[in-house]
């Protein structure tokens, strides 16, 4: 076991990492923590997932303090925002100097970023060249966009992918990180070192509204038909036939 870290932290850096499932978030986090070179036990991770996750094993192997929570039937973004303050409290109690939250963007409308808190979006080169144009706020409001799996696609495709990212978010820093070898994690770590020190998240504001849904299906309705639908419902418009 790691020697317990100082239990009286002055403040802690918080970094929010989001990205589509299997884009390589955990690998990028692990490699970047290694590149940070901080004492063992001083960097922790809170993983927000939906149903199940095996990533805690990977964090445990590296002796990285971590907590995993499952949104279950709740919208993962809503679950994130109602628990991220608790995550910060946990990190402070644990005496961490850096806390990373990891959350999977599942609906292309996720936007788990907080004003002034370093936000990192992880997407992979294999996900299709138009993906950056489709994933919305999670990419548009990120400070840093990390592109993974670049080692297996051509240089030209990497450049086009980065260009499509800039079309959506011209102000973000785009970094290429290899989640297997860690190539590029060094630069990412340099950005993490400059993340804001905080004590709490209370009263901070989200960068963008969360996906909304308050309808009968949110509360367990399973029957199909207009008569079972209540609350906020959005209807598709079909062409007249």
């Amino acid at each position: 076991m790691a020697a317990p870290h100082s239990k009286t932290p002055v403040a802690m850096k918080l970094i929010t990492v989001a990205g589509p499932p299997s884009s390589g978030k955990t690998s990028v986090i692990l490699k970047t923590i290694a590149a940070l070179g901080l004492p063992e036990g001083s960097v922790g991770v809170v993983k927000f997932d939906s149903l199940t996750s095996f990533d805690h094993q990977r964090y445990d192997e590296q002796q990285i303090p971590n907590q995993t929570a499952f949104a279950g039937k709740i919208c993962p973004d809503h679950f994130f925002v109602s628990n991220v303050e608790g995550a910060v409290e946990w990190g402070m109690k644990k005496g961490l100097s850096v806390l990373i939250t990891e959350s999977a963007g599942l609906c292309n409308r996720c936007s788990p970023y907080v004003n002034a808190i370093l936000s990192v979006c992880v997407i992979d080169n294999l996900s299709g060249v138009n993906t950056p144009r489709k994933i919305g706020p999670m990419l548009k409001y990120a400070d840093i966009v990390v592109v993974t799996k670049g080692d297996i696609v051509s240089q030209a495709e990497r450049e086009v992918f980065a260009f499509n990212i800039r079309e959506v978010n011209a102000s973000a820093t785009v970094l290429f990180v290899n989640g297997i070898t860690g190539q590029g994690a060094f630069l990412l770590a340099r950005y993490w070192q400059d993340a804001l020190d905080i004590r709490t998240l209370r009263d901070r504001k989200l960068r963008f509204t969360m996906p909304a849904a308050i309808c009968s299906y949110c509360t367990g309705e399973t029957l199909i038909g207009e008569m079972y639908q209540m609350g906020m419902v959005k209807r598709m418009e079909f062409d007249d036939v």
Partner: protein, 344 residues
């Protein structure tokens, strides 16, 4: 010009004319589901008829759309400062895995080819990575990389991050579902190259001259053979890429004219570093870096004698190539096509 300067123009000029002036702006509209609009109307007129709820999904109201649209035009119309020319990179030694210092200072200039040799796991990739991130004695090897003889400022190091260096490795594939022509046009568009048709044409011709087997402009990039893919990647990197430094991690020895490929890169004033054990490539480099146990143990200048051996190696290589072509053509490999070797 700032984004605000475009607002007057966007408010007065029909969107069709705006899109002809700034073709990329069509992408911004498409990204917020506003493609195929009435070209005779101005953007503010078009927005009158757009459902506010739809805009709200993107976190925008009508005024913000106009401002963001202008900011987009501004960002992509900015006259790019010509990148400072790279006249040299210098590798200052750090230390190997056991902490022993590397006694090396190596300067490489455009048009030079340096190969990197050493056993698997010896640290070849680490060296390529130190160059990529312009290490400043802050990576595990403690190496320092100088640009044009001096320490690159932090701004350059982070902002230019990734653009200085293009990488090419054996594991790389094309994943886009595009034809060769569409692929090259897309890359040219992202580089915002004027007169892209001519560049695309040239790139295609050069790629085909490198490839053992020819391909057409309407071949899907995913259907190209290994050699054809590599040829296209190299031609594209040399002619359409902006990176002055090229890092190559092995080149296939089949289906591609390696000598011409290296010549092409060097001829376009690139600095080429190649991790390779292919004698034809390693010996054609001006120098080779030998790596062992995480450190550079020596830098060998290719000797005149080694250059002479190249002819023999080329002869052996062409024999193999010939046999390969016989097989490819469905022929029977003739005993006579293989020269006699001295018994040892």
């Amino acid at each position: 010009m700032s984004a605000l300067d475009y607002v007057a123009e966007v408010s007065a000029v029909p969107i069709g004319d705006i899109l002809r002036r700034y073709p990329l702006a069509a992408d911004y509209l498409a990204n917020i589901r506003l493609s195929g609009v009435d070209e005779t109307k101005t953007l503010p007129e078009i927005l009158e008829d757009v459902d506010e709820d739809m805009l709200e999904e993107f976190g925008l109201d009508r005024e913000e759309v106009i401002f963001h649209f202008c900011a987009f035009i501004e960002a992509f119309s900015r006259v790019k400062r010509p990148d400072e020319a790279i006249s040299s990179i210098t590798i200052l030694g750090g230390r190997n895995k056991t902490g022993r210092p590397e006694m090396v200072e190596l300067t490489i200039t455009p048009g030079e080819v340096v190969s990197i040799v050493g056993p698997t796991g010896s640290g070849k990739s680490r060296l390529l990575e130190d160059i990529e991130c312009l290490a400043q004695r802050d990576t595990p090897t403690a190496r320092q990389i100088l640009i044009n003889g001096s320490v690159p400022d932090a701004d350059k190091r982070f902002v230019a991050g990734g653009k200085l260096v293009a990488q090419l490795s054996q594991n790389m594939n094309f994943v886009m579902d595009l034809t060769v022509q569409e692929f090259l046009e897309m890359h040219a568009k992202s580089r915002m190259i004027a007169g892209s048709a001519a560049v695309v044409e040239k790139c295609f011709a050069v790629a085909n001259s490198l490839a053992g087997e020819k391909f057409t402009l309407d071949t899907k990039v995913t259907q190209l053979s290994g050699g054809q893919s590599r040829s296209l990647m190299i031609a594209d990197t040399a002619l359409l890429g902006s990176s002055p430094i090229i890092l190559i991690d092995e080149l296939e020895n089949a289906g591609i004219d390696r000598r011409e490929a290296v010549k092409l890169l060097v001829g376009n004033e690139k600095i080429v570093l190649m991790s390779t054990h292919d004698p034809l490539l390693a010996l054609r480099a001006d120098k080779r870096i030998v790596i062992r146990n995480g450190g550079i143990t020596k830098v060998i200048e290719t000797t005149a004698e080694e250059e002479e051996t190249l002819h023999k190696i080329e002869a052996i290589d062409s024999v193999l190539l010939d046999i390969r072509n016989q097989l490819r053509g469905g022929g029977i490999v003739a005993k006579e096509s293989i020269p006699e070797f001295q018994e040892i």
